[in-house]
């Protein structure tokens, strides 16, 4: 999906530990803390369930003339973030959002009790015919613990491109991403994870609830030293819809443990679901090919991995 008429990037929300550093006043839209939204807009309570402690509420009511950025960072030892976010995009609007989640300081020398936790729940509602292009980038310290649980509700004809990229993994990470697609809605999910010294559980589920819905889930995992990754990718077709799972992992270390579990479930005879899955090592032929062009073995590996994680 091409980014149309987007000229600038504005920080919508910036949180450091529990401190709100920045919040955007955006014409034609609402940006506020989730707790404020709970008080001000009663209808949001069906999404939040309980009054949120922290997190953001972004309600796009008119077409924004900029891309949006949300920055969540962990800094102080012992911090435990519990975010509860809600994003609502009204009918026919297009939003380009980048979310960064990261550690700003390193904890390697600190005691276990001072470990930091980032727990984030989010619901994203895409009204009829709206589009969201969402890049979610994660850079954590190797001592952090991270848990994210996102649910996307795509109304009729809505479209979602969601990339969840783990650039530097935390000690443990749990990701759950669920997409509910109504009639004619489309989702394109990419989970790209570069994993080292980490224990990761990834689960994504697409529920094809309306006729003509279409979901593609792409999973790319690189397992380096000390990586233990379990990834489940699932599509449930409840209507005459289409879906495809594409799961691949590369093992770079013989002690890494990688598991890919693609799962298709059909509850409608007119649905079409397909999947492909692969776990293997770097191709010696590809490396030799690039070395014959003058790249060193390390440069060749880096290029192949960069390509693999950008698919």
């Amino acid at each position: 999906m091409a980014i149309k008429n987007v000229k600038t990037v504005k920080t919508a929300y910036k949180l450091l530990d529990h401190h709100l550093e920045e919040i955007l006043s955006l014409s034609g839209s609402v940006v506020m803390s989730s707790a404020e939204a709970w008080d001000k807009y009663i209808w949001t309570r069906k999404y939040f369930i309980n009054k949120p402690k922290e997190g953001y509420f972004i309600w796009i009511k008119e077409q924004p003339d900029c891309s949006l950025l949300s920055c969540i960072a962990l800094d102080k030892p012992g911090t435990k973030q519990e975010l509860n976010n809600l994003i609502v995009i009204e009918a026919g609007l297009y939003v380009d959002l980048t979310g960064t989640c990261e550690s700003t300081g390193f904890l390697s020398e600190l005691k276990l009790a001072n470990k930091r936790h980032h727990q984030s729940r989010g619901k994203l509602v895409l009204r009829k015919g709206s589009s969201l292009y969402y890049q979610h980038l994660h850079n954590w310290d190797k001592q952090d613990q991270v848990s994210t649980d996102y649910q996307f509700f795509l109304e009729e004809g809505a479209s979602l491109e969601y990339t969840y990229k783990i650039e530097t993994a935390a000690a443990s990470m749990n990701l759950l991403a669920q997409m509910h697609l109504a009639k004619g809605a489309r989702s394109d999910l990419k989970i790209l994870a570069d994993c080292q010294q980490t224990n990761i559980n990834l689960t994504d589920i697409a529920y094809l609830e309306g006729a003509g819905a279409n979901a593609i889930s792409t999973l790319r995992i690189v397992g380096r030293k000390g990586a233990q990754v379990q990834a489940r990718s699932k599509i449930i077709a409840q209507a005459a819809a289409k879906g495809h799972l594409d799961c691949a992992a590369l093992m770079l270390d013989k002690k890494a443990k990688l598991g890919l579990i693609p799962e298709l479930m059909v509850e409608n005879p007119d649905a079409q679901l397909t999947h492909e899955a692969f776990i293997g090592k770097l191709s010696a032929e590809q490396i030799l090919y690039l070395r014959s062009r003058g790249l060193t073995a390390k440069e060749a590996e880096d290029l192949i991995l960069r390509g693999f994680l950008s698919e």
Binding site: S292, G294, G307
Partner: protein
């Protein structure tokens, strides 16, 4: 004249199997040598040995390239020295565009070959669903940006239709002449040799060079009439 490439008494193993048995070949600067032979003769094994593929073990012999011991060099060092390969089956590299690799190659070799490729090819995933013609064109623009002194081409015409064969051969001939690049071309096609007009031809059979000649026409006629076996009795050896 000092050879650009000299292969002397080379023996190469693929696994435990001896494939190349004491082969010796020479290529002078700017010279073209055609290497022919039936399937399984050892042509591709020779290419792998030149590439530096570690799956192919050198049992004995020497390869000297521009006066240096090629066998002591890594694959990338060979490339930097001016040894370039047009691959017969270039691998797909997911997520990497041809344009990205071309930029890297130009940076590494200070390459300046002015390629004029359509965006549809340049910005496509490398070798993924390339037609036969696109593969060869992509290979050629890469190797010409490596500033090669010797080009090794394995089956130039495989997968090429007549129109693309003409385009590729014309571009290749022009650059070989302009840049004085030496050529080792492996082929089954007499038609390709009629276009390239190599100075020498060598025939490989069961891992041995059974004939080397400058009389290309006669060798091709012999092969056409009697097959490769007859080359063992060729009277036109160098």
């Amino acid at each position: 004249m000092t050879e650009i490439l000299e292969i002397k008494d080379l023996q190469v193993l693929a696994g435990d199997k001896l494939i190349l048995k004491n082969i010796s070949l020479k290529i002078n600067p700017g010279e073209s040598l055609a290497l022919m032979g039936a399937n399984g003769a050892g042509k591709s094994t020779l290419v792998r040995a030149l590439l530096g593929d570690e799956d192919y073990k050198i049992k004995s012999g020497q390869i000297t390239f521009l006066g240096k011991n090629l066998l002591s060099l890594k694959a990338e060092e060979r490339a930097k020295l001016g040894l370039a390969f047009v691959w017969q089956q270039p691998p797909v590299i997911k997520g990497v565009e041809l344009f990205t690799l071309l930029n890297l190659i130009q940076e590494i070799h200070d390459g300046d070959y002015d390629y004029q490729l359509a965006d549809a090819l340049l910005f496509r995933e490398l070798n993924n669903n390339f037609s036969g013609g696109e593969k060869k064109i992509a290979e050629l623009v890469q190797v010409l940006n490596q500033n090669p002194r010797l080009l090794v081409i394995d089956e130039l015409d495989s997968g090429l239709d007549i129109e693309n064969k003409k385009i590729v051969l014309t571009a290749l001939k022009k650059e070989l002449k302009k840049r004085k690049i030496a050529l080792l071309i492996i082929t089954h096609s007499g038609a390709v040799l009629e276009e390239i007009k190599p100075q020498k031809i060598a025939i490989l059979r069961q891992g041995k060079v059974i004939c080397q000649s400058r009389d290309i026409k006669k060798v091709l006629n012999t092969i056409k009439q009697y097959g490769y076996q007859k080359c063992e009795n060729c009277q036109n050896r160098l």
